[in-house]
């Protein structure tokens, strides 16, 4: 019981400190906004309005955070197993491309087969793209940082450069539009859905401009599954053991190679799902530029979430809100580069305040004996 109170307390303190660091970052951001001769108040109210101003804004914040939660998870899981995955970007591309191709290529499949097929194909290919560096690491001692960087670039060549040209039909640098049977359900369309349509008040989602789609739910489910996997299953136990101490794990009868390959495969699959969501939910095709650096932002998301799957959800939401609110800031006259600068400031301060958190914990513990 006491335990629970303590847990809630820690979570609240964590949230409070994160909020504090965001506020400090925004205060520093004022300096840059002033340099552009805009009003910081207008700018920040736009940031807030854009991210949380109304129901639609909130849902769209969730939408923007979806790929970030997933790439964040794709970095977090291997991190727990002692691996640094810089390859979420490539895994996302491979997954998104595969889903995009399956989504338009198979024209005569019913929706209940086509969609799962497209999703699973994307997830699987993403998984393979992640599993490959895991395999190289386990069997040939190839450092995963190098191999994932290399595979990112190879994925760009394969999908954006070669793949799109191979399948392209219009002038867009994209694969052809996917069929409706392969599209992920949008919240907007839920009213018309056979099952979801029956949920009371579902029509509140029927608003132009709500872009949230079902992949957000998948992202949350993924986080929960990964949390369960890491902390409730023997597999997770083994992965974490390998991550902390490979020799100790081996002593405990754990095969480190298995953990490495599996962690990377799952991570690739999750990053692949990020790509699947962007292709089948957001853009309705695989499109050049849709990766938008999510794989790299995912690194920050993962670590700000302390590589804990549930923490990653919050990390993803933070970055989603910054992205969604950042766009609105542009409408308030703040150029996009200032938005980037403010994002970077938030990262700095959230990371630095982590330290304060550790310090506070220490002081508190010390207070206990005095």
């Amino acid at each position: 019981m006491n335990n629970l109170v303590d847990k809630v307390k820690t979570i609240l303190i964590n949230l409070g400190l994160s909020l504090l660091s965001i506020i400090i970052a925004l205060i520093f951001g004022i300096f840059f906004i002033l340099l552009t001769e805009q009003s910081p108040i207008t700018a920040y109210s736009a940031l807030y309005e854009g991210a949380f101003g109304d129901f639609r804004a909130i849902l769209n914040t969730l939408w923007r955070s979806t790929p970030l939660i997933l790439t964040g998870l794709a970095v977090a899981l291997p991190f727990r197993a002692g691996l640094f995955n810089i390859g979420a970007e490539g895994q996302l591309l491979m997954g998104g491309f595969t889903a995009g191709v399956v989504g338009f290529y198979f024209t005569s499949l019913p929706g209940f087969i086509h969609l799962p097929f497209a999703v699973l194909a994307g997830v699987l290919v993403g998984g393979i793209w992640g599993g490959l560096p895991g395999f190289l690491k386990a069997k040939m001692d190839v450092h995963e940082v190098i191999s994932t960087i290399m595979l990112n670039n190879i994925a760009i060549a394969l999908t954006i450069n070669y793949g799109i040209n191979y399948f392209r039909e219009t002038g867009r640098q994209a694969t052809p539009r996917i069929l409706e049977s392969a599209a992920l359900l949008r919240f907007n369309d839920m009213v018309d859905h056979v099952i979801f349509g029956r949920i009371p008040f579902i029509e509140i989602f029927e608003q132009p401009g709500i872009r949230l789609h079902i992949n957000f739910i998948f992202a949350i489910i993924s986080a929960i599954i990964l949390w369960f996997l890491l902390f409730k299953t023997t597999l997770g136990y083994e992965m974490r053991a390998v991550g902390f101490n490979p020799d100790g794990a081996e002593y405990g009868g754990i095969n480190p190679s298995k953990g490495v390959i599996l962690a990377m495969f799952i991570s690739g699959a999750v990053a692949g799902l990020a790509g699947v969501g962007e292709a089948l939910g957001t853009h309705l095709s695989f499109m050049a530029g849709m990766d938008a650096g999510h794989g790299f932002t995912g690194i920050a998301v993962a670590l700000i979430g302390q590589t804990h799957p549930i923490g990653v959800i919050f990390g993803g939401l933070l970055f989603g809100a910054l992205a969604q609110g950042g766009l609105e800031m542009q409408f308030a006259g703040v150029p996009s580069d200032i938005v980037m600068i403010i994002q970077a400031l938030v990262i700095f301060f959230v990371a630095s305040l982590q330290v304060l958190k550790v310090y506070l914990a220490k002081r508190k513990a010390k207070g206990g004996v005095e």
Binding site: K232, T233, T234, L235, G236, Y237, E238, R240, A241, F244, N245, D247, G248, A249, E250, Y251, G252, G253, I254, N255, K362, A365, K366, G368, V369, E370
Partner: protein
Amino acid sequence: MAREEYFLDMRNITKLFPGVKANDNVNLSIKTGEIHALVGENGAGKTTLMNILYGLYDPDGGEIYYKGKKVKLKDPQKAIDLGIGMVHQHFMLVQPLTVTENIILGNEPRKNKGLMLDRRKAKKEVQDISKKYGLFVDPDAKIRDISVGMQQRVEIIKTLYRGAELLIFDEPTAVLTPQEIKELFEIFRSLKKQGKTIIFITHKLKEVKAISDRITVLRDGKSVDTVETNEVTEADVAELMVGRQVLLKVEKTPAQPTEEILNIKNLKVDDNRGLPAVKDVSLSVKKGEILGIAGVEGNGQSELVEALTGLREIKSGSIELRNKEISNYTARKIKREKVAHIPEDRHKHGLIMDFDLKENTILGYHDLDKFSKKGIMNYENIAKYTTKLIKEYDIRGAGMQSFAKNLSGGNQQKLIVAREFSHDPELLIASQPTRGVDVGSIEFIHKQIIDRRDNGAAVLLVSAELSEILSLSDRIAVIFEGEIVDILEASETDEMELGKLMTGSKADEAGGETLE
């Protein structure tokens, strides 16, 4: 003697750590030129006190007088400047660097006072010191390639190189072979002769008696007493430490061996560098007996144990457990055959330091049905089980949510013992089971091992501690350069004979004779 006349006088030192008062008004007074032993149970606060003296920790209270003057030790540089040197419990050596590089680090001789290292001069200085104090080392060897005993010498030379007058040794003997301990004490005497003052932490009371002039005892962070060594017995000191009488001698009944359980035939194993480490070893262990393996460290016993426990590939030969060939089994499969293993390096192998106690108590057993089913962990059961172990084995200083790294060494060792003993092993392989552990815990662990034997388990005991081997084993196999040179009845041999066998029959004077 007035307090000002002490070489070093630490007064009312207090140090707080989250949840612990590691030092509570500790007093320690050291005379010039003495060897002063600092003893106490695991977690009593010895290391903390020494870290304060070396400038690594800021004390929360108290004063330090050095050569009669009050000093403030804000960082190690200050301590070094004053002439304090410390050989840490966990060596502070940079593995990929050479002996010389480690010694000169931070105080490097340079060519013409420029940037460039003067390696020749450095080497010469190292050689000079090593000659002067009889500390022989290979100046060009990399740390990772030399033995623990050698590494310790490097640590000592490091302090002397900086002109230390007061040398602190934190459990220097825990990792040494009897031969190396003997050599270390020679070094102590030589240092003392040169006028150096020494503080020496150990858990081995025999050593305290053998080398120290005076003893200070800590208990629960407080200084209990300081006594003249020649006025007390080992038992007295043990009692001061623990606060009760301790059995220093193991009590056991004669073994009643039954059938053979482990049978090793012509086993050959290579070491990390691919050189033969175990050469043609044949051994058998019976249920109900303790077979001790005596040997100077580095003679293949580590590789032998790793081969038996599935952590190292074997070159040739066979390992049979209950007449079943297990030489190609994985570590996990061997565990399932009711083989328990207390590894020699608890930090490297025995524990996941960043796991909490709960997760550590099931390491290697995590897929047993009671801990997990169908790949899902049953943390409720695990918690119950951990609570039980903590209680049964008296693991102190932590609840099951705390991390293994925050346990003291003695308690870490107890945790491993608890885990390995609690699954009714039929074969127990114990490597250095009491290394770095205080007398109370040694008593406990020894008792547990004998209990196992009396319950019909076979025990294979590997220890560098001859007294431990002699008092626990029923039979003793001596290993030398990867081969079993002899197998003796424990009751029919002594340290003298073992010592000779352990160093090859030629070296007559070597071995683990008494320390004086």
